[in-house]
């Protein structure tokens, strides 16, 4: 009998002695305490706001805003609500961040590769660029680009004219396309051309793997993408008109206006962040052992091909995670916009709207929430991209 009892599982330890259960209890306790703390802070804030006669709640989002915003991607005027000002500010923030990310990446890769060039002057120049722009405070750079360029531009009445483009202190004015019925055919042709290009690229890739014969994918695709839409455009009877900017009174009306604030902010953000990205690209490339380059040369690849087909794909594994944090920085740095009057979320919503309604807790909370969501979205996307690019062991 005693033998049998030895085989049985040991009697379950008492509730307190079981480390797994104990762990759970403490986790729950800590969680509850943190929850209580937040609930307390929340309650305390509400209590104090009410006690001091400061109104709370999100009703203000439905009130008429009554102020003008310099630039809006969606219809907006003074009669729209504070909720709308939130959207306008948000879109402006997203716009400048997106432009900044695209150009920072382009400039950054270019400078990073140039930094490693065997040409002495090019690599020194790239180095100079990095050292200068990485080491000056961003706010100063924004103010510099804005207040240095503005005085150089002419008054609207003496605008610089290039064709139907006008450039002056108020911004850059471009003709605005007006699509007429039938333009859908052009878009359809463009879509068709893109799909065809992708198919051709896949086919060419397979053929090259099988037979070793290359196919001029780039030129074929370019030809398709340019020619097909034009053909459709001509066949549909040129269904496109232009709304031309025209000088009336103080300034140009009509067309598309690009304000100098957007230009200065996007420029400063791109140039500043590009300096960091260049260093990241350099370190990524240097992390690929030199033997890879030698092997590629030995196989007869040209230097450009070596970089594009051998070095960069391996370097990306090092580059992408760091690139993510630079993109996040750029987006968050765009909140320096109010300094030069660019109407981003901070200027429009956490600035004017906050001041006019006085609802600091709600507005700052919403603004922080937005930056958090944008940052987490970029982060999630880059993580997904990183997984795709990661070296697949075979």
């Amino acid at each position: 009998m005693s033998h049998k009892s030895n085989d049985e599982a040991p009697a379950a330890p008492s509730f307190w002695r079981d480390p797994r259960k104990r762990q759970w209890i403490f986790q729950i306790l800590v969680l509850a305490l943190v929850g209580l703390l937040f609930a307390y802070i929340f309650h305390n804030t509400l209590y104090n706001l009410e006690k001091r006669g400061i109104s709370t709640g999100f009703d203000f989002l439905n009130h008429e805003a009554g102020f003008n915003i310099l630039m809006s991607l969606i219809p907006y005027d003074e009669t729209y609500t504070y909720g709308r000002t939130f959207l306008v500010g948000l879109l402006n923030t997203l716009l400048v961040s997106a432009i900044g990310i695209v150009f920072a990446t382009l400039i950054g890769f270019l400078v990073g590769v140039a930094r490693l060039s065997s040409n002495w002057i090019i690599s020194r120049l790239a180095n100079l660029y990095i050292e200068v722009f990485r080491n000056l405070p961003l706010l100063l750079q924004i103010l510099f680009w804005y207040f240095a360029i503005l005085p150089l531009l002419p008054h609207p009445r003496q605008s610089i004219q290039i064709g139907e483009l006008f450039l002056n202190k108020r911004g850059l004015y471009l003709p605005k396309p007006i699509f007429e019925p039938g333009f859908g055919w052009v878009l359809a042709a463009l879509g068709l051309a893109i799909v065809a290009s992708i198919l051709i690229a896949r086919w060419a890739h397979r053929r090259q793997e099988a037979t070793g014969q290359p196919f001029p994918v780039f030129w074929t695709s370019l030809g398709l993408i340019v020619l097909l839409p034009w053909l459709a455009y001509g066949l549909a009877g040129f269904p496109l008109n232009w709304d031309l900017p025209e000088l009336r009174g103080f300034n140009f009306r009509g067309g598309i206006g690009v304000i100098p604030e957007l230009f200065a902010l996007a420029l400063a953000l791109s140039i500043y962040t590009a300096a960091y990205i260049a260093e990241i690209v350099r370190s990524g490339i240097q992390s690929v052992s030199h033997g890879q380059t030698e092997a590629a040369y030995a196989l007869g690849l040209k230097p450009g091909q070596t970089l594009r087909l051998v070095i960069i794909p391996q370097a990306m594994r090092v580059i992408i995670p760091q690139l993510t944090s630079q993109y996040l920085n750029l987006t968050k740095n765009s909140s320096l916009a109010p300094a030069i009057g660019y109407p981003d979320l901070v200027a429009v919503f956490a600035g004017t709207t906050l001041n006019q309604t006085g609802q600091a807790v709600e507005i700052i909370g919403m603004t922080m929430g937005v930056y958090l969501v944008i940052s987490l979205t970029i982060s999630a996307f880059m993580n997904w991209y990183n997984k795709r690019m990661a070296l697949v062991e075979r």
Binding site: K51, R52, F67, P338, A339, G341, N355
Partner: protein
């Protein structure tokens, strides 16, 4: 251990953040710390700006100094917090400053929704426009389509929108964070027009590289009563600030100045002046300050007329006429309840 700490700090937080507000909280706190913490602008000549010695001067600064003179008998017991238009109300609500004297317009929303109280009006202002002379504009009605520089977080943004809407005109507003950047934007030619309270326009004009190249248009499009602000629910403090201002206006009305106040105090037979200088009547008891509170204000800061001329009037670079800010007995609307 960690949990104990958490509970301890939670308890500390609970004690620390529960407000113990009573009617005299700020006055008591000011008395015990020995100075008035006053919120002013980040630099607006004539109202609150630092001079070449680094001291704060201006009409708004003089209100802070008058309050310090009333409470401590010493106008220099003030510490200043420079605030942008955006920061000002939060700084006051959170208790970072004791009073706000920063060319702030008294409006219904601000008086009722923000937990604040306006103590009075030390300058009657109105919004106006400044333009480059080269534009050849003579009236605000000709500004259709203009680009307008403006400072963020002010009532001017709304007035501007109202004015252009009611006149069926379009405009483009470039909103900067500080008044310095607004001036820079105007100078760089980003906008045709700079709009602000008229007093500020005169002050900002002398900051321009070429003040003669700009002019202020005649239209005044709004009422802007500017005055000191305190927190709600603190009546004792509100009264000290309010009556410090009234004492300056009353002193001007009675002709008592910083120069003749000692003379008047010795010789006057006028019961009104005697009450003002604390020689008879209720003195400072109701306000919970010394009986010579008004005397200290007049002696160290001067009466309203003196402060006006010194900071923004004919003795200053701004050269603003008294206009609405003259005494009620001289064609203006500055009026103070009697001290009795």
């Amino acid at each position: 251990m960690k949990i104990k700490n958490l509970i301890a700090s939670g308890a500390l937080l609970a004690v620390g953040t529960l407000p113990v507000a009573h009617a005299g909280a700020t006055l008591d706190a000011v008395k015990s710390k020995g100075f008035v913490q006053c919120g002013v602008s980040t630099g607006l000549p004539g109202f609150s700006a630092t001079n070449d010695k680094g001291e704060w001067t201006g009409l708004d600064v003089d209100v802070c100094r008058a309050v310090a003179a009333a409470v401590f008998g010493d106008a220099s017991k003030v510490k200043y917090t420079p605030l942008t238009a955006k920061e000002r109300f939060t700084a006051l609500q959170s208790g970072e400053i004791d009073m706000l004297s920063r060319n702030t317009t008294w409006t219904l929303t601000r008086d009722t929704n923000l937990g604040l109280n306006f103590a009075g009006v030390n300058y009657y202002d109105g919004q106006g426009f400044m333009v480059h002379k080269s534009l050849g504009v003579k009236s605000a009605k000709e500004l259709d389509g203009a680009a307008i520089c403006i400072q963020a977080g002010t009532t001017t943004e709304l007035n501007l929108a109202d004015y252009f809407r009611s006149n069926g005109m379009k405009y483009e507003a470039i909103t900067y964070d500080t008044s310095d950047e607004t001036v820079k934007g105007f100078e760089a030619g980003r906008c045709d027009v700079l709009t602000s309270d008229q007093s500020q326009l005169y002050a900002l004009r002398i900051k321009l590289k070429d003040p003669k190249g700009a002019m202020v248009l005649p239209e005044v499009i709004s009422k802007e009563p500017l005055g000191p602000v305190v927190r709600n629910g603190d009546e004792d403090w509100l009264k000290v600030v309010r009556w410090s201002l009234f004492a300056m206006v009353n002193a001007e009305e009675m002709g008592v100045t910083s120069k003749n106040v000692d003379e008047v105090k010795k010789t006057t037979k006028d019961p009104g002046k005697q009450r003002l200088l604390g020689l008879s009547g209720i003195g400072g008891k109701g306000l919970k300050v010394g009986d010579d509170w008004a005397y200290s204000i007049i002696k160290q800061v001067g009466n309203y007329g003196e402060a006006f001329e010194r900071n923004v009037g004919m003795d200053s670079p701004l050269k603003i006429a008294r206009g609405l800010n003259a005494l009620w007995s001289k064609g203006g609307i500055q009026y103070a309840p009697p001290i009795r």
